[in-house]
């Protein structure tokens, strides 16, 4: 059984994150966390063309009728925040690390489509540095599942019950032998592009995505959380990779990424890709070719 939290429109993210953080101030975490069974949803959501255009511009997508799958993730983000702000959510958002993401575009979604969007949490499992769990999102057009996504978060220092449900895990972060990370996965991605990330990129992306996490906004606010400078949103980097591959992507596909190291702003990174019959493997590389993100599109 689950409870449903229904919104008429996407809620504002900032107050939710504040509430989610406040919920945990002075509260001792439970010895073993339990995820709420709440499903947060919005029905018949209209997409905002102006916001989509701004999102596409910041991420490097051209403006088409078909929206990028990462845009659909952005639409689920306020619902993720609502879930985190629930009184029964076990982790504070301040310490969460977005480690991996997988999403599938089951059918193309047009900017004019009205969307039913839902988010829930599942797959709490132990991790060497704490506990992992997934925020799962679904987007439907009418009754048809158009997009599904799974964002894996690490709650540092938290503990999950042993033998916990790991069925939904992406495996990318859990398993070093995952094809995304494996050296043996055929031809290594070749450097093809260089991206210059401006100092205000975190603020730009925050504006179009609603993700106002202070670690992305300025060096001063990022320092409060232990980062030397602001870091770019992982989902920006993810979106930018898909934008770089636009034209090579099939009509529908699954894309997996693992966020391996944060990118400090301003910054300069390179993009590498390798195509095969199975799909495209790609990576965003920093100094000494160390990966910030590794990913793959499966046809």
């Amino acid at each position: 059984m689950h409870t449903t939290l229904a919104y008429a429109d996407l809620p504002a993210v900032a107050p939710l994150l504040v509430r989610a953080t406040a919920n945990h101030v002075g509260r001792r975490p439970r010895a073993e966390a339990v995820l709420p069974t709440t499903v947060v949803r919005v029905a018949r959501l209209r997409q905002d063309l102006g916001r989509l255009a701004a999102y596409n511009r910041v991420c490097g997508f051209g403006l088409r009728d078909a929206v990028p799958p990462t845009w659909l993730h952005v639409l689920t983000f306020p619902l993720q925040a609502a879930l985190l702000a629930g009184p029964d959510f076990p982790f504070t958002p301040a310490g969460l690390v977005h480690t991996a993401n997988t999403m599938t575009l089951h059918r193309p979604v047009a900017v004019g489509d009205h969307l039913d969007v839902l988010v829930r949490a599942e797959a709490l499992r132990p991790h060497a540095k704490g506990a992992l769990f997934d925020l799962v999102g679904e987007v439907r057009v009418g009754s048809e599942l158009a997009w599904s996504g799974r964002s894996s978060y690490l709650a540092r220092g938290a503990s999950a019950p042993a033998g916990a449900d790991a069925a939904g895990a992406t495996g990318v972060t859990d398993d070093p032998a995952h094809p995304l990370r494996s050296e043996a996965a055929g031809e290594q991605p070749r450097t093809a592009q260089r991206w210059r990330l401006p100092a205000d990129l975190g603020r730009q992306y925050a504006k179009v995505s609603g993700d106002v996490n202070p670690i992305h906004l300025s060096a001063a606010t990022a320092k409060l959380f232990g980062f030397r400078r602001a870091i770019v949103h992982g989902m920006w980097t993810h979106a930018r990779c898909l934008a770089a591959l636009s034209g090579r992507l099939p009509e529908t596909y699954t894309v997996d990424v693992a966020f391996t190291r944060p990118i400090l702003l301003p910054g300069r990174v390179s993009f590498a890709a390798a195509e095969s019959d199975a799909g495209v493997r790609f990576a965003v590389l920093g100094r000494e070719e160390k990966p910030h993100l590794v990913g793959a599109v499966r046809r």
Binding site: R190, A192, Q193, R194, D200, A244, L245, A272, A273, E275
Partner: protein, 414 residues
């Protein structure tokens, strides 16, 4: 209709000058008009109507939307001469030759002028994307308040001017950085690149000294020779230069890469019989042309070696091999661009190009490379060289261009 053929009658360019020097005060329009007027004077075209003039520039001001027509109106040509602008990055000059030649062959024109110009000195500077959007929003606003609000989101850095883009939009890599990836991929050496650069300077200097350019170049603003040419450079001097692309151990230096250049070049084309009836020189026929593109965005191929894709198509269609060409002109964007293109052709089983036939009167490393003007320089030079060698001698041109493209063509002396 009998078969028509398009021939190169002659060409004219202004000497090419290092950007920001001798031509710093001249606009693209000024230089194109100067090159055009030199051609008009050489062939007695003053007051005459030409079928069409096609030219272009890579770095272009918005006010230059009709650059070529404006140059025609500023020249001594009959103002009834129509003109259009074409743009194919560094392939612009050769693409205009193909366009005009095709019109002539199809009977849509008997004569035409093709060419290009670029000024890296007078390059357009634009406002930032943030300011541009704010200005557009303001122009759509109906009230003063709305108009003021349009500027509310501006950041101080939005007010800084933005120089023209020098990187590939899809990769964020400059030409040099892109070529450095290719250079590493093909394992090309510094020595081979410097050797090619040295040959370019020596060949161009020899051609100037021999008076080869006397009927191909008109002095402009006191400049009588290409100013980037270093007749006295040596292998030792080139070897001393520090790498500018590809990191500390890179092989690409300012000596084996083209410099930013100002200049303009035009070519006069005509239908062969039409030219003969008027006793115009008939230097070489434009036989065929091919454009190709590489898949460079995800790093599968080099940005500047599409010539290795275009040339085989051209050879196949014309039943020729590389050995059938007396002369080969491969635009020297970078020495390693030429070397990588040749290496790829060889790897694909097309054999090698005898260096004694390659860029025999120098190319862009020595002459400089005012982007859209390079095609006109090469076509006029090659046509004259082929004519000197006599009927039947064949030449091949390959010019790489931004966007992973290359424009290639075959000329044959008649």
């Amino acid at each position: 209709m009998p078969e028509r053929s398009a021939v190169v009658v002659g060409g004219n360019r202004i000497p090419f000058a290092k950007a920001g020097t001798k031509y710093a005060a001249a606009s693209s329009g000024d230089m194109l008009t100067a090159a055009l007027d030199g051609l008009v004077a050489r062939f007695g075209l003053a007051g005459q109507q030409v079928g069409e003039v096609a030219a272009g520039a890579v770095l272009k001001h918005t006010r230059d939307f009709n650059l070529t027509r404006e140059a025609v109106l500023g020249s001594a040509l009959d103002p009834h001469t129509p003109a259009c602008d074409l743009q194919q990055a560094c392939g612009t000059g050769l693409e205009t030759v193909i366009y005009v030649a095709n019109k002539i062959r199809l009977g849509q024109a008997d004569t035409g002028i093709a060419g290009g110009v670029d000024s890296a000195s007078d390059a357009p500077i634009v406002v930032s994307e943030g300011l541009r959007r704010a200005l557009l929003r303001a122009s759509r606003s109906k009230t003063l308040l709305e108009r003021l609000k349009s500027f509310a989101s501006l950041h101080p850095t939005d007010l800084a001017p933005v120089p023209p883009g020098v990187v590939e939009p899809r990769t964020g890599l400059s030409m040099g950085e892109s070529q450095a990836l290719t250079t590493a991929e093909y394992g090309l050496t510094r020595e081979a690149a410097d050797e090619l650069a040295l040959a370019s300077h020596r060949n161009l200097a020899r051609a100037w000294d021999a008076g080869f350019f006397d009927d191909l170049v008109t002095p402009y603003l006191g400049v009588t020779r290409d100013t980037l040419l270093r007749p006295d450079t040596s292998a030792e001097a080139l070897a001393k230069l520090k790498p500018v692309f590809g990191g500390e151990n890179g092989t690409m230096t300012a000596g084996n890469s083209t410099a930013l250049t100002d200049g303009a070049a035009v070519v006069l084309l005509a239908e062969e019989e039409w030219a003969r009836e008027r006793h115009w020189p008939v230097l070489a026929r434009v036989v065929d042309a091919q454009v190709a593109a590489t898949d460079y965005v995800t790093g599968n191929e080099g940005l500047l070696i599409a010539g290795a894709r275009a040339i085989p198509v051209l050879l196949e269609r014309n039943g020729l091999t590389l050995a059938d060409f007396d002369l080969v002109e491969i635009h020297e964007a970078f020495a390693s661009t030429v070397l990588a293109t040749l290496a790829q052709l060889e790897a694909d089983g097309h054999g090698t190009v005898d260096r004694a036939r390659l860029n025999v009167n120098g190319s862009s490393l020595a002459a400089g490379h005012p982007f859209a003007a390079t095609g006109g320089r090469i076509v006029a030079t090659l046509a004259k060289l082929l004519a000197e060698r006599g009927p039947g001698s064949r030449g091949l041109i390959s010019i790489c261009a931004a966007g992973g493209q290359a424009v290639t063509a075959i000329l044959e002396a008649v």
